[in-house]
């Protein structure tokens, strides 16, 4: 079960598990700089909803031997230092391969509170929901989602609702679009769960804008681009501090 803070706007950075040898140091740096939970990417060879940066990160992690077991073992080593919840972000085939029961049990045993599967729409989620137990299966909503589906997504989602801010794949973008505002607003009217905007949020100004309409942001490509370019944990801390500041200055 995900317990997320209610006293401030939420910052959820994403890190591809195993992308570089010291990847868990990056996790801890993000935590120290104000992350409220961390999405750990379990890399998949064919990430359908990811743009070039996260694709490259996934390929690099897989080439480094970042199996699910290896990633979980890395996380176990920093378990004592982790204060924020972990959310797994992966694709349905990794769940299929082990079977939903085994996969969800494994995540729970390793301290995960939530699971995001971007290629598992609510219509196909039955078996994973049945296996999830108190692992929160977070549902995603998109700008094109019609009202009846939004209701179903909100009713099914656990932990929070992930509002995909663009009709597109993960990747940095310059501005928060009108469709992102619209979607966040529609979701807020339908659910008491936190609504987090993700996809394309890459800096302080967008975080501030997003914080005005949603309960927080998920940030992936902006983090992963830096890691791929050789950023140190301290460099990531700087990005996280910026985004934290943007969120904290949001006018609700």
């Amino acid at each position: 079960m995900l317990s997320l803070r209610k006293d401030r706007k939420l910052f959820l950075p994403y890190v591809t598990g195993g992308v570089v040898p010291q990847w868990t140091d990056h996790l801890l740096a993000l935590q120290d700089a104000g992350a409220d939970a961390i999405e750990v990417g379990l890399p998949f060879s064919d990430p359908m909803l990811d743009g070039a940066v996260v694709q490259r990160a996934s390929d690099q992690a897989i080439a480094r031997g970042a199996t699910v077991d290896a990633i979980l073992a890395d996380l176990d080593r920093i378990r004592g230092d982790l204060r924020v919840p972990l959310i797994a972000f992966t694709y349905t085939n990794l769940v299929e391969r082990r079977g939903a029961d085994r996969f969800c049990a494994m995540l729970r045993e390793h301290g995960f509170g939530g699971l995001i599967l971007p290629d598992l729409p609510v219509d196909e989620a039955g078996p994973v929901l049945a296996a999830a137990g108190d692992l929160d299966l977070v549902q995603l909503a998109a700008p094109a989602t019609p009202p009846d589906r939004l209701e179903r997504i909100c009713a099914t989602s656990r932990g929070f609702v992930y509002a995909v801010s663009v009709m597109g794949v993960t990747g940095e973008r310059d501005t928060l679009t009108a469709e992102a505002y619209g979607l966040a607003g529609r979701l807020k009217a339908l659910t008491d769960l936190p609504v987090l905007l993700g996809f394309g949020i890459s800096g302080r100004e967008q975080a501030r804008q997003a914080g005005a309409v949603a309960d927080g942001v998920a940030v992936g490509a902006a983090v992963m681009r830096r890691i791929l370019d050789g950023a140190t944990p301290a460099d990531l801390g700087t990005l996280a501090t910026e985004i934290r500041a943007g969120l904290d200055s949001a006018q609700v």
């Binding site: 064919d46 909803l49 998109a142 997504i153």
Partner: protein
Amino acid sequence: MDVAVRPQAATVMREPSPAGRFGEYGGRYVPESLVPACREVDEAFRAAWSDPRFRSQLTGLLRAYAGRPTALTPAWRLSAELGVTVLLKREDLVHTGSHKINNVLGQALLARRMGKKHLLAETGAGQHGVAAATAAALLGLGCTVFMGERDIERQALNVHRMRMLGATVVPVTTGSRTLKDACSEALRHWVTTVDDAYYCVGSVIGPHPYPWMVREFQRVIGDEARAQCAEHLPAGTPDYVVACVGGGSNAAGTFAGFVDTPARLIGVEAAGGAPLSDGVPGVLHGFRSQLLQDDDGQVREAHSLSAGLDYPGVGPEHAYLRDLGRARYVTADDDEAVAALHRLARTEGILCALESAHAVAWVLRAAGTPELPAGSTVLVTLSGRGDKDMPTLMGETC
């Protein structure tokens, strides 16, 4: 080995469940952003397929433009050599050179009916890309084709054809740089363009309704062949029906015409890309089926000389037919396919595609064995012609 015709035969190869299931396979595993688009295609296809005007438009194009019906050619000399009666369903003779045009004309008409302005397509061998570019030109639509860099190299002729027809060919540089990656990239692109673009999937793969819709557009192969066999064969239907299987569209279209007959249905995969022999259930490109993958769930790359069979997944309905025991799936390797291509060329004067040569290769191997006893009648779908493969073949020793 015997493939018994089970009682389910009368009900298989109809409509999948409303969720797009063929048994435990199929479904619609796409990002939420694409769910409305898939539903729109589903609704539009259902309406079109029960609209006599749409049907007659499509039939008209298939006749006057694509050159259907295609011939059923008795392979006299090969039959005499093998001791089995071989009939060839000649999809190599249609416009653009492969069965892909059957599906594309259907989907392009559907796209136009839906008010879409642009076709997106993935391609491996380039035959689907060429067909999509052709249909787009014919109907005045734009066309963007995603193609793996490796396939661009080995199917250069088709790349030129697509460009000449006005399509934009986008090289895909990720992963294995083949059909698998082209599919992923086409889906990613579709997410950003759903309002104007129609994703024209090239085989019986993808999210619901594509596997079903593409099979329906390809069933013209099987329906024609069934009627032609009724004229040619004393028994009315062949003992065996054989087709190559990449994603599985020419096989699905062929099988659809014979699934309710006693014919034994044989699908031939490339040995280096044979999920129905070497795969386990998995989810890729929006559907659940048998999939080549490792223990962690990472998709394994297929390796076949024929670009059109170089795919780690397979249409969900084939996985279902296999589990039911209604169809049997076997493999042929690169060398067997090349040898079969040469032999067919010299005995019948037909230079078929490397993909199709896999189906021929199985017949050559099995003829006269208990798998395909002497005296049997066998229908083989030649899915396409070999022109595109000449550079590859010229590099091989004969």
